[in-house]
């Protein structure tokens, strides 16, 4: 094949502009060059023709039958994964699986599938929070730092993340701190604090608020309850399969700041 840019070394930029990859300043600089460069003008005309050729191509969705077979295969596979993880993972985390309760692993799978298949880019943050929580519940993913001491957990985040998340323990109120980890939400690294309530796990995600403070709110997805609020310049998302009232209590403890 010939060199990608015969004649003018700017043709890849012409292409990048048509693909929407150039910023305003770059596009302006390119426009100035192109007005005096026949090679770039020719390249642009050709690229536009090629694009027109492809534009009419219909987008084929997955046929229903194929989708059904994929889902059936995944359900089968999910069961195998569940059995395997229960058998090879004895020890302190075993109880996490039963704690998924009535929905069993179906809920884990549902959230995984929601994340993989349904969640649009930049999509619903609440769904992303649930998916992240479910992922964390899988063996070995809950904590990067396991400690019930807030003075151990808080410094652990130093140098690992570009802000200092508040860390508090509410053992006295029945929500003991279990540890923390790094996670990714909303296109950025976030701090996740792990709490326990009876046999349930609560994940609390914290990152700097980018928008105006919002009032708290609660919602539920796939059987998980969510609480969301902003406080002291931070965004908070709490998620768990505890009852909604208990999660609200947890959120109130935090917002009271005690």
């Amino acid at each position: 094949m010939s060199a990608p840019a015969p004649g003018c070394d700017k043709v890849l930029l012409v292409q990048a502009e048509l693909d929407g990859e150039l910023g305003a300043a770059e596009a302006a600089a390119l426009a100035a060059h192109r007005s005096g460069c026949p090679l770039c003008q020719k390249a642009e005309a050709e690229l536009l023709r090629t694009r027109a050729l492809l534009r009419g191509e219909p987008y084929a969705a997955v046929p229903e039958a194929v989708r059904a077979r994929v889902m059936a295969r995944l359900r089968q596979h999910e069961t195998r994964l569940a059995v395997a993880s229960t058998m090879v993972r004895p020890g302190r985390r075993l109880w996490l699986w039963p704690s998924l309760g009535g929905f069993g692993l179906g809920a884990a799978c549902a959230a995984a599938l929601a994340f993989l298949l349904v969640l649009p880019q930049g999509g619903d943050l609440a769904v992303a929070v649930v998916a992240s929580h479910v992922r964390a519940l899988q063996p070995g993913h809950l904590e990067d730092v396991a400690s019930t001491d807030q003075h151990t957990v808080k410094p652990w985040f130093d140098g690992r993340i570009d802000f200092a998340p508040p860390v508090r323990d509410f053992a006295a109120a029945g929500f003991p701190l279990q540890g923390g980890r790094l996670d990714y939400l909303d296109g950025r690294p976030v701090a996740a604090l792990v709490y326990q309530r009876d046999k349930h796990i609560i994940d609390l995600y914290i990152w700097p608020a980018s928008t105006v403070p919002r009032m708290g709110g609660g919602t539920a997805i796939h059987g998980y309850n969510l609480a969301h609020w902003t406080q002291d310049g931070m965004t908070f998302w709490a998620v768990s399969d505890v009852e909604g009232a208990q999660l609200d209590e947890f959120a109130k403890l935090w917002r009271r700041g005690s």
Partner: protein, 163 residues
Amino acid sequence: MLPHLDAAYNLARWLMRDSEAAEDVLQEAMVRALTYFASFKGVNPRAWLLQIVRNTAYSSHALNRGVETVPLAGEHEEGGIDLADHGDDPEAALLRTREQCRVRTLVAALPVELRETLVLREFEECSYKEIADATQTPIGTVMSRLWRARQLLARAAAAEGLP
């Protein structure tokens, strides 16, 4: 409703150029995705899933069965041409459909690394960054592959007398 699954299926079809092989790849890729889901800590699930589909396709023995397979066209025809969509001119609709069929054949004949890059850009509307992630290729290479793919396609189309 399931945009990532559609994207995964389409990429598999363009890579495998055969509906049955594409479904095998899709199934295998989705199983892998579910298995590795726990270790996924990225920010772009679509690029991540497309990367799995692509790696699954590349490890399939059916990948390079030859360019003579004329893929994908059959299914669209089976579905029937929706003449109603084209107003009162069924003849123009038929012509357009034939033209699309030929364009598809030309895209399918591109070398696989050019084909996947072009398909991700034109049909999945991926950004250069997403294509780079999905194909595990530097962005500069993505740009030159796109350029070559479009050059080849334009030349082939001209040779076929397509507009």
